[in-house]
């Protein structure tokens, strides 16, 4: 390992001291770490809210909270988990930290904009909190459907504005990444030499850039409605609430792909490394990322099959929804085929990735059931939907996030966590997850609606069972996160490449120095060249664990 000091020891500008070295930094790695810190805080709050909701639902006649409190809690849970956790988590943390390194650059293209986008994220979060105390917790659900969101007396105006600010933050991040990938790749790195994580961030960024303004303007109109009573979405004044739903989902469905695409990128990085084998179908994965981004932007109205639409529209949107399943399935086949005849090395990131594939498949298939026009009518707004999107969002993106955290944790902090505890946590988490969300499918089919604070007595046993699953799940999560934090107590530092990866971030020290690279990076003609890596490891001594 070279003696180059890590970016923790060198502020991005010599004038910055102490806390300011963080708060005014333009170093993409520090900004990534700052995102990690704040996003984990929001994630924890979201978890607490979620477990409160499920505890309430364990009994038919809940004593824990009133209906209004329940409405406020699921709104908060949704807003926090979606806008403050899942959407920013992977692009802002891993994208910021790793994307420039993966393409051989020393920073993102607009470092100051990058910092601005962190501050906008913080401002959005603070505004969201302020809105709670000023006028009462919003009770609309995270979708802010009109006309209720226009009429309710709770602090919707401010929280909608908070979401608007968060949107700008996410948009700027996307803009920054697209420019960075286009302009700052190493000269000899062509598009087909980009690592797949970078590719997935690239596809995501386009969606962030082009879809976010739509929800931005829609939410602005909601604010205008509340302040001036313009009437654009108010049926009593001639407005059409359905148009709100269209505009909202024009963003918020693509937003689902903002959440899942980078997650798929992480998984595509993990499988080849732990199978010691080149990724199966690199180009197919790239193409499917772009296909998901494009087709995924055209399926929004499948959220509205029962809101009132022509049959033709229902059929078209249903068909398009089924089409998105194809590129997603291609990716799953590619991941599984990568393992085939690989030399598999089991470590916590791989276990997370395997769980991801399973849970994501369940989530994806149940999505198709909803995408079909017929069954959709039966299960619309039931717990089936709750089960489905938690399978894709948490079982998909959440697990990929944790997989990435375990994969790159040594790169971030130069410390390795305990494997046994990580395995225990993962298994608890997965078992609890399945116990928790699987019953929701059945509950939904039996007719239990979502967003109700109580239900019919005969549904109690299954709700109680799901609640126990929730506690096991949260227990697993706590084990996983505490285990990661406990790694800081370890003394021994981690080599540059603890896993034997081939992309550029494994060729820099852990944690990387301020300018990322100690030596000018060498771009492989193919980003997943494991035979070459194997020879490198042999010639440089016993293993890659010597570092570079």
């Amino acid at each position: 390992m070279s003696e180059e000091p890590s970016f923790y020891q060198t502020p991005s500008s010599n004038r910055l001291k102490g806390i300011w070295a963080w708060l005014l930094t333009t170093d993409h790695k520090r900004i990534g770490i700052m995102y990690l810190l704040v996003i984990m805080l929001w994630f924890s709050i979201g978890i607490v809210l979620g477990i409160l909701i499920r505890t309430n639902l364990m009994f038919v006649n809940p004593k824990l909270m009133e209906a209004q409190t329940y409405n406020a809690l699921f709104t908060l849970h949704g807003v926090i988990m979606i806008f403050l956790f899942i959407i920013p988590a992977i692009p802002s943390i891993f994208g910021n930290f790793l994307l420039p390194i993966q393409i051989g650059a020393d920073d993102v293209f607009f470092p100051k904009l990058n910092l601005l986008s962190w501050y906008l994220y913080i401002a959005g979060g603070i505004l969201a909190i302020v809105s709670l105390f000023l006028k009462g917790i919003p009770d609309t659900g995270w979708t802010f459907y009109v006309p209720f969101s226009i009429n309710t007396q709770t602090g919707v105006t401010l929280s909608v504005f908070a979401v608007f600010i968060l949107g700008i933050s996410s948009m700027i991040t996307g803009l920054n990444f697209i420019t960075t990938i286009h302009r700052m790749r190493k000269d000899d790195m062509g598009w087909m030499q980009l690592p797949l994580f970078t590719w997935s961030i690239y596809a995501t960024s386009w969606v962030q850039l082009l879809a976010t303004p739509i929800v931005g303007v829609t939410l602005l109109v909601v604010i205008f409605e509340r302040l001036f009573g313009v009437g654009l979405f108010d049926p009593s004044k001639g407005g059409d609430p359905l148009l709100y739903q269209h505009l909202f989902w024009m963003y918020s469905h693509p937003a689902v792909y903002i959440m899942i695409l980078p997650a798929m990128g992480i998984i595509s990085e993990i499988f080849p490394v732990f199978a010691r084998k080149s990724i199966f179908g690199y180009k197919a994965i790239v193409a499917s990322s772009m296909a998901i981004a494009i087709v995924g932007s055209l399926v929004w109205a499948h959220h509205m099959f029962v809101s009132g639409m022509s049959d033709v529209a229902v059929l078209v949107f249903s068909l398009l929804t089924f089409l998105v399943a194809i590129p997603s399935a291609i990716k799953v086949f590619n991941w599984v085929s990568t393992l085939y005849k690989g030399s598999i090395y089991v470590a916590p990131p791989l276990l997370f990735a395997l769980c991801f594939v399973f849970l994501f498949c369940v989530g994806g298939f149940t999505g198709l059931i909803q995408g079909a026009a017929g069954p959709n009518v039966h299960i619309h707004d039931t717990h089936f939907i709750v089960g489905h999107f938690h399978f894709v969002m948490f079982g998909g993106t959440g697990f990929a996030f944790l997989a990435g955290l375990h994969f790159w944790w040594p790169k971030f902090f130069g410390r390795m966590y305990n494997f046994k505890a990580a395995y225990t946590g993962t298994i608890l988490l997965t078992v609890g997850f399945i116990m928790h969300y699987m019953p929701m499918f059945i509950l939904g089919l039996k007719g239990m609606p979502r967003r109700y604070y109580t239900y019919l007595p005969e549904l109690q046993p299954m709700n109680f069972f799901a609640g126990i699953g929730a506690y096991i799940m949260v227990g697993g999560l706590v084990v996983v996160l505490i285990n990661l934090l406990a790694s800081f107590r370890r003394k021994e530092s981690v080599p540059a490449d603890p896993w034997g990866g081939t992309t550029l971030e494994w060729y820099v020290p852990s944690p990387p120095p301020l300018k990322n690279f100690v030596h000018e990076p060498v771009v492989n003609s193919y980003p997943y060249d494991f035979p070459k890596k194997f020879h490198e490891m042999k010639s440089s001594g016993n293993s890659a664990n010597k570092g570079v």
């Binding site: 607009f110 286009h182 269209h246």
Partner: protein, 199 residues
């Protein structure tokens, strides 16, 4: 590794991306316009006739002129004639303010007739008209807000040129600000016929 700091193509690329996102922002409102135009066509026509065609046309001319002066200022910067740049940027700011004044007169006029969102007069009007004027105020209002931001940006450029921090060697800031100003112009070019010229 710091050569990217002078990558003007990259900066411009980023600016274009931002302009796309602005187009999407207004695009959402244009979608609303299209849907409501389909639903309330006759009201949109009668609403359009109530708008002041003269002031609207004036504003179109003013904005086109301002776009011209911005474009010229960039060309002048390329030829390194600072005085001309400052003059042209000053003219741009002047045109921008003129546009806002006209807008103020126009809106004020409407307000005096009780035409504004949530007014008693609008409560009694036909729903189609409420929507037409709702869209009118929302879209031209958002456009005016952009113009205000544009004015600040051009104003900052003016001072940066004045203090030579934007110069013939490095004028990408001016270039990008000009792009933003053109965007404001282009959006107005679409707003004008949709509100003032519908039959």
């Amino acid at each position: 590794m710091s050569e990217h700091h002078v990558d003007n193509t990259g900066s411009k690329f980023g600016m274009w991306l931002f302009l796309y996102s602005e187009l999407m922002l207004f695009g959402g409102l244009f979608v609303l316009y299209a849907a409501y135009y389909y639903q309330y066509t006759t009201f949109f026509i009668s609403g359009g006739k109530q708008l002041d065609l003269f002031l609207g046309t004036m504003n179109t001319v003013i904005l086109l002129l301002s776009s011209f002066t911005v474009a010229c200022s960039i060309e002048a910067m390329r030829k390194n004639s600072k005085k001309l740049v400052l003059l042209l940027l000053g003219l741009t700011v002047f045109f921008g303010i003129l546009f806002l004044c006209n807008k103020y007169i126009e809106w004020n006029h409407k307000f005096q007739h009780g035409i504004y969102p949530g007014s008693a007069y609008m409560e009694q009007s036909a729903k189609g008209l409420v929507i037409f004027f709702g869209l009118y105020f929302t879209m031209t209002g958002l456009h005016a807000l952009h113009l205000l931001i544009g004015l600040i940006v051009i104003g900052v450029c003016f001072f940066l040129c004045w203090s030579d921090r934007i110069n013939a060697k490095d004028f990408i800031t001016l270039d990008n600000s000009g792009l933003y100003w053109h965007l404001i112009d282009v959006i107005w070019i679409f707003l004008f016929p949709l509100f003032y010229l519908i039959l």
